[in-house]
Amino acid sequence: MSLSSCGSSSICSLSSGILVANDPSSKLSKRRFTPSISQPGWKQRRDSSDNNRGVSKVFGYYGLKSPPYKLDALEPYMSQRTLEVHWGLHHRGYVEALNKQLEKNDSLYGCTMDELIKVLYNNGNPFPEFNDAAQVWNHDFFWESMQPGGGDMPTLGLLQQIEKDFGSFTNFKEKFTEAALTLFGSGWVWLVLKREAKCLAIIKTSNSINPLVWNDIPITSLDMWEHAYYLDYRNDKAKYVNTFMNHLVSWNAAAVRMVRAQAFVNLGEPKIPVA
């Protein structure tokens, strides 16, 4: 998996790409933005696997990034139909809604997605654009938190940190599942690295909130909005969560995010030699 498709963090500006309008009079075309990282999303837009029926007429500021796998790659745990609707309609809808809102207010142009979310969150008094922006980010992060042949266990440093902060991987799994099942309404469950406390934690958030707003670093996530599992599992949340843990979660992605996070959070004890 290439670095560019890893979860966003503050180093890597993964604003999903900028559509330059062809209209020469448009403001956008005056800026020369070329995505500095190759955007797999753009190429795949023309793939047949990409359900491209809703081609946007909005001049994009953000683009709809494809998941780093084909839409049927997560079968039978997450069906192609779910990906088609969840990514192709919901996620796409958030992107288009966000772009529409940003059209009206260009003071937000030039922000990375991470910055945009923090600005729009406005310390707990979010602006109307927050929901769409956060949901775009959340879904990008979520697709990248899964992989075909996922599940199993993390290894090496990430596993050690999990064992340190949760006692054991089994305990972590239990706590994560419990958080997912006790979340009421729509929301997300996250494994985060807390910057201040310098440890891993499980948090659940409502609607579109994500840990970036508290300056924590997300390591992996699970979408608990009903649209994420209703087509495949109906009301059986437990089955969905267990399937995610056992067959979908990408510990590779989580490990890469952990590595990057350690550039910001010092987890180790300094080894000061005794003279």
Binding site: V85, H90, G93, F184
Partner: protein
């Protein structure tokens, strides 16, 4: 909702035959309900444990096809609603909430916004009962009579009301509900008294609420609701919430139920006003009687000078 299991079944049968009447008496009569509960206890049945029942909708599960499918009902009523009922019963068993009516539990556990654990289940049970009864086979169309008059007065026209209702339901982000409510103006909270209550203060409103919250906790009288949790429409409409809402308004709404709720709401609002006026008069009179006692402490009263 009735506390006793046996009467619960009787009530649900009654509701099946008369879909509108199930909720006529259920809006806010705390006093009345407490008495009812006490009488039930005195009837000598031994220990009564409240057990809420899963009330069936007042129509067959496939009666709203093709607008709301049989499969949706199987899950939405048969699994989601049932789970709320079962979990609520488990949560309140043996606690002080056991034996209270559903509405009382909703009030108490709302706890001014600092939700206690049973709130979500209790409110969702109430909300879903109310929702099934807000629909009927062959529903939709336009309301009539007083309800239509009020809608025209408070929204401009029926079409504008529908727009506002759909807009509220569409913009409720995440899970929640959209409501048409009757607001009987009550500034009487704490030490604020409405000096000039008038009939014009009473009006219809469209409100939306997140997750399990419902307008009872804001002291409104709910008249109509639509469930915008995704589980309500995902099987039939996937993400097309606006289509779901249009079909709901055009083909499912039971205006009879709404009208009858409006009638009860107005009656209760009037009752409440009369009750409050009576109380206020009482306090004034009681107050006058007391003021003679207060006079004992005035300067010119020698007997209490020490």
């Amino acid at each position: 909702m009735v506390a006793n299991a046996v009467t619960g079944i009787a009530a649900s049968l009654k509701c099946a035959l008369f879909p509108c009447q199930g909720f006529q008496g259920s809006t806010r009569r705390l006093q009345w309900r407490k008495n009812e509960r006490q009488c039930a206890r005195k009837a000598g049945h031994g220990v009564i444990t409240a057990k809420f029942d899963l009330k069936p909708p007042p129509y067959q599960l496939d009666a709203l096809e093709p607008h709301m499918s049989h499969e949706t009902f199987e899950y939405h009523w048969g699994k989601h609603h049932r789970a709320y009922v079962d979990n609520l019963n488990k949560q309140i068993a043996g606690t002080e909430l056991d034996g209270m009516t559903l509405e009382d539990i909703v009030f108490v556990t709302y706890n001014k916004g600092d939700l206690l654990p049973p709130f979500n289940n209790a409110a969702q049970v109430w909300n879903h009962d109310f929702f099934w009864e807000s629909m009927k086979p062959g529903g939709g169309g336009k309301p009539s009579g007083e309800l239509l008059d009020l809608i025209n007065r408070d929204f401009g026209s029926f079409e504008e009301f529908v727009e506002e209702f759909k807009r509220a339901a569409t913009t409720q982000f995440g899970s929640g509900w959209a409501w048409l409510v009757y607001k009987a103006n009550r500034l009487d909270v704490g030490n604020a008294v409405n000096p000039r209550p008038s009939d014009e203060d009473k009006k219809l409103l469209v409100v939306k609420s997140p997750n399990a919250v419902n307008p009872l906790v804001w002291d409104y009288f709910p008249l109509l609701t639509v469930d915008v949790w995704e589980h309500a429409y995902y099987i039939d409409y996937q993400n097309r919430r606006p289509d779901y809402l249009s079909i709901f308004m055009e083909k499912l709404v039971s205006w009879e139920a709404v009208s009858s709720r409006l009638k009860s709401a107005k009656a209760e609002a009037t009752e409440r006003e009369i009750e409050e006026q009576r109380k206020r008069k009482e306090e004034e009179e009681y107050g006058t009687a007391n003021s003679e006692a207060v006079e004992m402490y005035l300067e010119n009263d020698d007997s209490e000078a020490d």
